[in-house]
């Protein structure tokens, strides 16, 4: 157990973006002031997060009890929450910049609503990161589901609506159907104790089968983690505008899902519970194999997708299960890898989404088969795409290498050779679905540069330019971030070590 200090800092960090909402609504007629409010809020938020980081890096948790009682609402920032909060709050600023370029570039409607709900969803994301008990976690989880729904349905057309319905049905449905009963069951079992920071279900509390049921209820209930069979909301939600996909479906929403799973596995269950034998397997291994199945199947599906955003979506599903798989290994190194992979995948995937959006803004192209040769016209975008995909695949120089290295080592040390093979196969598949895009973009066959034979539409290749600067700058920064974190990941690794050490 680490010691903790009481402070209102976590509250302010959460509220920073919520308080921006009135400002956004007031300045709805003044786009510059409106977006200015978003930026100010983003910087203030990051400032608070960094202030909290000063405490957390010394191994002190920052705590704030909002409401006492039988069902307390508590914010408590520890190393794990810190990693996530740093990633989410720093990437929000970049996404806001990108969103301005994207939304204005496409002259989207209802931009005020868009920015307002964006701010609310960030409030909820930090709330999840800082949640000090299961109830608080669930509370912010639901707020996040609801506040992102208007973003997903932003286009309001038929496709967006059905995407939005799938989105809500999955996220709300599973959370109410699985996570809520699991949460209350835990509460009943432990006699009103739902605080994090101590293993609240001790060994001997549950038999092996109830443990499996509860574990899977939590993991499927937090279906933002995208584990199969509750993954189909993610591709469906790709109808959202790209900044939404970028931040929410590469960073905030899906990471909230895996974050919840990490919390549950590491803090709710005692390790003894998860290693009880059921035949040849243990509860944690069952979870690991569900995750492994998701990793492989989603990577294979990703290979077949021609729509770039859909390919990214299935890649995301795979990478999320990667993280879950690492947690389920119940090994120090694997846990470190998992948490690091949150940051690694976030920076990498957000770059990829930014690039997909930039391509769409500049050319209107959505399909990979239409992108041959585009790299020559949009070199910055595709270079960033290349770096981003390196991060997701786990090739040097990127943070992804470090996280995957830990994961693989963890699997090896835990003696799970079969799962180690899963990691390796998946990495090959990752490379197989990303690198050809880059290759074809830069080195098209000569005849394909001329679209005359494809014939579908007149398209002047020579008029294609890079997307607006507001799109290009953020994606360059995230690419640099993904690249730079390879060399400066020390502070993250310190946090991760703190997290692992506290268990």
């Amino acid at each position: 157990m680490t010691d903790s200090v009481n402070s209102l800092l976590p509250v302010w960090a959460c509220l920073a973006s919520l308080l921006a909402v009135p400002a956004i609504l007031i300045f709805r007629k003044e786009p510059f002031l409106r977006e200015g409010a978003t930026f100010v809020a983003g910087l203030v938020k990051l400032g608070f997060v960094i202030a909290i980081y000063q405490h957390v890096k010394n191994g002190t948790a920052v705590e704030c009890v909002l409401i006492e009682g039988p069902l307390p609402i508590v914010l408590r920032v520890d190393a794990l929450g810190m990693v996530f909060a740093l990633v989410a709050s720093s990437l929000w600023i970049l996404t806001s910049l990108y969103a301005i370029g994207y939304m204005r570039g496409l002259k989207e409607h209802s931009q005020t609503r868009f920015f307002a709900f964006f701010a609310v969803s960030l409030f909820a994301t930090l709330g999840v990161a800082f949640a000090g008990n299961l109830l608080t976690l669930y509370l912010f989880y639901e707020i996040l589901s609801l506040s992102t729904w208007p973003l997903v349905t932003h286009h309001q057309d038929k496709e967006a609506r059905s995407g939005g319905r799938t989105y809500l049905a999955h996220l709300l449905g599973t959370s109410v159907a699985f996570a809520l009963p699991a949460l209350i069951f835990t509460w009943v079992k432990t006699g009103s104790e739902i605080e994090f920071g101590k293993a609240i279900l001790e060994s001997g509390d549950l038999g092996p089968w109830p443990t499996v049921a509860l574990l899977l209820a939590f993991c499927f209930g937090f279906s933002k983690a995208g584990m199969m069979p509750f993954h189909s909301w993610l591709p469906g939600a790709m109808v959202a505008p790209t900044p939404v996909s970028a931040l929410l479906h590469a960073v905030a929403v899906v990471k909230v899902g895996v974050f919840c799973v990490i919390r549950v596995v590491t803090e709710v269950f005692d390790t003894d519970l998860l290693t009880q034998a059921i035949g040849a397997l243990s509860p944690s291994e069952i979870l690991a194999w569900v995750a492994a199945f998701t990793v492989l199947v989603s990577s294979l599906i990703a290979l077949t997708q021609d729509n770039l955003k859909r390919r990214l979506a299935f890649s995301t599903i795979g990478q999320l299960s990667y993280i879950v798989l690492g947690v389920a290994l119940l090994h120090d190194l694997a846990w470190r890898g998992s948490v690091l992979h949150i940051a690694a995948h976030a920076t990498g995937k957000i770059t990829l989404f930014f690039c997909a959006g930039a391509i769409y803004v500049a050319t209107g192209k959505k399909y990979i088969s239409q992108m041959r040769g585009l790299g020559r016209r949009m070199p910055i975008t595709f270079t960033a795409f290349f770096i981003g995909s390196l991060g997701v695949i786990g090739l040097p120089p990127s943070l992804g290498l470090i996280s995957k290295f830990h994961l693989v080592l963890g699997a090896a040390n835990a003696g799970q050779i079969a799962l180690l093979v899963v990691f390796l196969i998946s990495t090959i598949l990752n490379a197989a679905y990303f690198l050809p895009i880059v290759y074809q973009a830069f080195f098209p066959k000569s005849d394909e540069v001329d679209p005359g034979e494809a014939g579908a539409e007149k398209f002047s290749w020579h008029s294609v330019k890079e997307a607006p600067w507001a799109c290009v700058v953020p994606l360059s920064i995230t690419a640099l971030l993904s690249f730079g974190l390879f060399f400066t990941s020390g502070f993250l690794q310190e946090l991760v070590k703190l997290f692992v050490a506290s268990h």
Partner: protein, 522 residues
């Protein structure tokens, strides 16, 4: 003064009704201030009593000083307030004040200028409901149930819609049969125990190791009382009168009846169960908890599914009430050893009163402003009436059970009760009904947010295209509702959230009140 608080709670609206009845017909403007003042006095007295209860335990008050101990035949009427009905009293007072504000302009419009008559009935209704909550006398309870029922028949029949009149007629028949059953049950109890005071009945029933309690007559009495109350609270399958009555009533009547009548009836049932027959008798001797919980499960599912089938907004809400009654009855009958189900049921009485009020006020505004009885007519309402829709959304989220609204926490405690007592079917029903509610309300949100049909481009919402000419004109001129209706809506919405956020102290009060009742049963 403070000693007289229990009587003042009931008498203030009664005298208010007299004043409104005498003076109101001369000048309609006098009605509303009198109503507000008398309800405010009730609220003040309720708060006062509640504080007394918190400090020094339950408060007993004997009408006209007829102490039941001293008087010849034990005929004095006792008012008794403990922490639980103290809370219910406050809820009733707050809800009725909010509805009276909501009704300032509407009462006259909807009842063809019968404003004073409306307010007389309104105040008498609160008299009846307050009385049902405080009285500790079984026969007096019957009279007060009839006072509240008679006024609600009239309130429902006051509207212009002729279907409302027919619904009121059916309600009279059902309601009278229900009250008569209750009266019959009280008669049997009186025969066996020789007293009408609830506390005394309980003493007699449990005396000598519960010898009298084992008599079959007592069981008949309990069943009669239960059936009577179930009709009053519209518990499945006795809910038939409710949907038409509440949805075709004038909106002000609907807004006061829907949150209070069923909830107070549930409270009365819980009081009869715990205060008259006792935990041990109901759950130990009778042992029907499994059957009733299953009935509640069916009520929840049937209410939710029927709500799903409705196209009219208010009808849908009415079927949701049926489902919510299932929550409360089921929770009260879970009989887990720590009483979490009972806690959840009592908390849900408070929570559901405000949730229902919130939704009914919002729905009434929507129906009135845009003539949109049906859900499809709500296209694009979010843009036209953002404040109203905000209130509606908060109420709806509470119905679904999204934190941090109070609906989430009541469900939380109810599910805990279900798990602890092993009634998994109840847990499943609660979750299923949450999911159905989510479908119901998000269907409405989608229409209200994004318009009726999927957008082609970013045009304006439709609504003008509707076939009825009058609707076309209305839809063009739809704008935000007037302040006198928005204030109660927003206050209710705020309460829905605050009651959820600060559920801790409320739950603590409820727990401290029911723990001794459970302990008595052992």
């Amino acid at each position: 003064m403070a000693d007289q608080f229990p009587a003042i709670i009931v008498l203030a609206p009664l005298f208010g009704a007299l004043i409104v009845g005498l003076a109101g017909s001369r000048d309609h403007r006098i009605c509303f201030p009198v109503v507000l003042v008398s309800l405010a006095v009730s609220l003040f007295a309720s708060l006062g009593v509640f504080l007394q209860v918190l400090q020094s335990g339950p408060v007993s008050y004997f009408m006209s000083g007829w102490d039941t101990e001293k008087s010849v035949l034990g005929a004095g009427i006792e008012l008794r307030i403990d922490a639980i009905n103290g809370l219910v009293l406050i809820v009733i007072a707050v809800v009725s004040i909010l509805v009276s504000i909501f009704s300032i302009r509407r009462a006259g419009e909807e009842t063809t200028e019968k404003t004073p008559q409306f307010y007389v009935l309104f105040l008498l209704l609160t008299v009846g409901i307050f009385g049902m909550t405080v009285t500790n006398d079984a026969f007096n309870l019957f009279v007060l149930v009839e006072v509240s029922s008679l006024t609600s028949y009239a309130l429902i029949a006051m509207g212009k819609a002729r279907r409302g009149t027919m619904a009121a007629f059916n309600y009279i028949l059902m309601g009278t049969v229900g009250a008569s059953f209750y009266l019959l049950g009280v008669g049997y109890l009186y025969l066996k125990t020789g007293t009408l005071n609830m506390g005394h009945i309980h003493e007699v029933l449990t005396a000598n190791g519960g010898e009298i309690g084992r008599s079959p007559s007592v069981m008949v009495a309990f069943v009669m009382i239960l059936v009577g109350l179930w009709i009053k609270m519209a518990f499945f399958p006795l809910y038939g009168w409710l949907p038409n009555a509440y949805s075709y009533a004038p909106s002000t009547s609907g807004c006061i009846l829907a949150p209070l009548m069923t909830k107070v009836s549930v409270y009365v049932m819980i009081r009869v169960m715990l205060g008259v027959f006792g935990w041990e008798w109901v759950f130990g001797h009778l042992g029907w908890n499994h059957a009733v919980v299953w009935l509640a499960v069916i009520a929840i599912l049937a209410g939710s599914v029927l709500a799903l089938a409705q196209r009219e907004l208010k009808k849908m809400l009415c079927y949701l009430i049926v489902a919510e009654v299932g929550y409360m009855v089921g929770g009260a009958w879970l009989a887990d050893s720590e009483g979490w189900g009972m806690t959840g049921a009592i908390y849900h009485i408070l929570a559901d009163a405000f949730m229902t009020l919130c939704l009914f006020i919002a729905a009434s505004i929507l129906v009135k402003r845009c003539k949109a009885r049906r859900i499809e007519d709500l296209g694009g309402m979010f843009k036209k009436m953002p404040v109203t829709m905000t209130g509606f959304i908060i109420g709806a989220l509470a119905m679904i059970g999204i934190p941090p609204t109070c609906g989430f926490f009541s469900k939380f405690y109810l599910i805990r009760g279900g798990i602890e007592s092993g009634h998994w079917e109840f847990v499943a029903a609660l979750i299923l009904s949450s999911l159905i509610n989510a479908v119901l309300f998000f269907r409405i949100f989608e229409i209200a947010f994004f318009g009726n049909k999927p957008a082609e481009g970013h045009g304006h919402e439709e609504g003008e295209t509707s076939e009825q000419g009058s609707i076309g004109e209305q839809a063009l001129s739809v704008r935000e509702a007037r302040l006198s209706t928005l204030i109660p809506l927003l206050v209710t919405a705020a309460i829905v959230i605050l009651l959820g956020v600060f559920n801790g102290p409320v739950i603590a009060v409820i727990r401290s009140a029911i723990e001794p009742l459970i302990a008595v049963g052992g």
